[in-house]
Amino acid sequence: MIRITRKVEFSASHFYHNPSFSAEENRRVFGKCNNPHGHGHNYVLEVTIAGEPDPTTGMVLDLKELKDILQREVMERMDHRHLNYEVPELAGQIPTCENVAAVIWKLLEPKIKTGKLDRVRLYESPDLFADCTADAPCEDGARA
């Protein structure tokens, strides 16, 4: 099995606030991320597809097709957006790195028709990233 990874970058703003917490609790749990004016990140998204190369084309999938899927599903939804207000898939969720990565996984998984979505890695900054992977171990057992 071969894994191929495509990277895209988008910029978005967010803040963390749970309406069922008190103001004091929101400040304690979320710290400066609770600033109601929000703040932004340059997110870096790495999407990995696993599969066998097609014997005719030598490709696991056409990277142009993956690029178009990422543009449509992620960039148009999230680039230069406020994640709390403008992304319906995140409604009712705190837009943490974990939750945004999980939403991206759910958006992409049904769109990948050739090969299999193997991993979504979302960097919020060079020092913090979330990984989403399939529940079931991959065929070659390399990743549980």
Partner: protein, 141 residues
């Protein structure tokens, strides 16, 4: 689908690769310039990966407000700007290779109370990295 979170930290420390179990000549042969008696240093980069259910109230596997001070206390404070062989007790008995350093860091961080420690990865330089994962407790260069 499962989710994990990885946080990156840095510390700078010196070490010397040397063991009393080998002769001077053997130390020199096995460890080369890394056995220079005065030691040498690295800017270590540590990646700590935690996993577990994402709390629906916070959207988090664990609050970085808990993870950061924990890693700070267990690893950064005792290791940063130190000579590992002399100033970290565990390396009086074992060679301060980055394999052993990875094991020691994993052991120190395993007790993080708010999530499962899944993996640590340590880069000794931009060319050498070492990982240790929860399942196999297996070190690979």
């Amino acid at each position: 689908m499962r989710v994990s979170l990885t946080r990156r930290y840095r510390f700078a420390a010196s070490h010397r690769l040397y063991t009393t179990k080998l002769s001077e000549a053997e130390n020199k042969r096995v460890y080369g310039k890394c056995s220079n008696p005065y030691g040498h240093g690295h800017n270590y980069v540590l990646q700590v990966t935690i996993s577990g259910p994402v709390d629906s109230a916070t959207g988090m596997i664990a609050n970085l407000g808990e993870l950061d001070p924990f890693v700070q206390r267990e690893v950064i404070e005792p290791f940063d700007q130190k000579f590992l062989n002399e100033e970290v007790g565990e390396f009086r008995e074992q060679v301060a290779t980055t394999e052993n350093l990875a094991r020691e860091i994993f052991r120190r961080l395993k007790s993080f109370p708010s999530a499962r420690l899944e993996r640590i990865r340590i880069e000794e330089t931009s060319k050498n990295s070492f990982e240790i994962a929860d399942e196999a407790e297996e070190v690979r260069a």
